[in-house]
Amino acid sequence: MKGKLVAALGLTVAAVAGTVVWQRRRRRRERVDLYFADGSMVSLEQGSLEANRLLPLAHDVLDAARGGY
């Protein structure tokens, strides 16, 4: 009985820790979200062809605004 409880607790802790790590990793990934006039949205994740074109341009905006140009 005690062993099952420990196993269940361990599984829960592992699941929570995994979720936290996944969320942090996802936040660190770069992406571009496009919102259209009809209410639709497209998210372009880092690594996709479109995002690889757009993200350097986004960095140009950051550099220009922060005086890194």
């Binding site: 979200d33 496009l34 950051l62 220009a64 005086g67």
Partner: protein, 140 residues
């Protein structure tokens, strides 16, 4: 659009949002109408880079059956770029990393409407933590 109105709209924007570092308001011809940047050259290069990003995003989605691109967010670990556009102008803003996306878009759209001369009353109060938030004095 009167430049004073646009400048006032940007001043209100940075007053209510602590997440927005800089913002530029650009007309349909690509000219900077107002900016929070003190250096006009930096404002112009920010506007140009933002227009290039927007144009590239529109090209990237050109093959698909979408409506007009209304707004975008590019998120990076160093900060985010937000662009909102209407028929006559666009506003581009740079924020701190991991901003509250919905709030930033709301503030930018409000600023764009304000710059367009729409009567937006009452004026929003500064949020807690923003540069101009009124600290409770703890008395009375």
């Amino acid at each position: 659009m009167p430049a004073m109105e646009a400048a006032e709209a940007l001043a209100d924007l940075t007053e209510i949002s602590s997440q927005i570092e800089t913002a530029v308001l650009v007309d349909a011809q690509g000219s900077v109408v107002a900016s929070t940047l003190a250096d006009p050259a930096r404002a112009a290069s920010t506007a140009r880079a933002a227009r290039e990003l927007l144009a590239a995003a529109e090209r990237a989605m050109g093959g698909e059956a979408h409506e007009r691109l209304a707004q975008l967010q590019a998120a990076t670990p160093e900060g985010s770029v937000f662009i909102v556009q209407d028929a006559e102008r666009l506003i581009a803003a740079v924020t701190v990393p991991e901003p509250t996306v919905g709030l930033v878009f709301y503030d930018l759209k409000t600023c764009l409407r304000h710059a367009a001369g729409e009567d937006l009353a009452p004026k929003p109060a500064a949020r807690a933590g923003s540069r101009n938030a009124v600290e409770p004095d703890g008395e009375g």
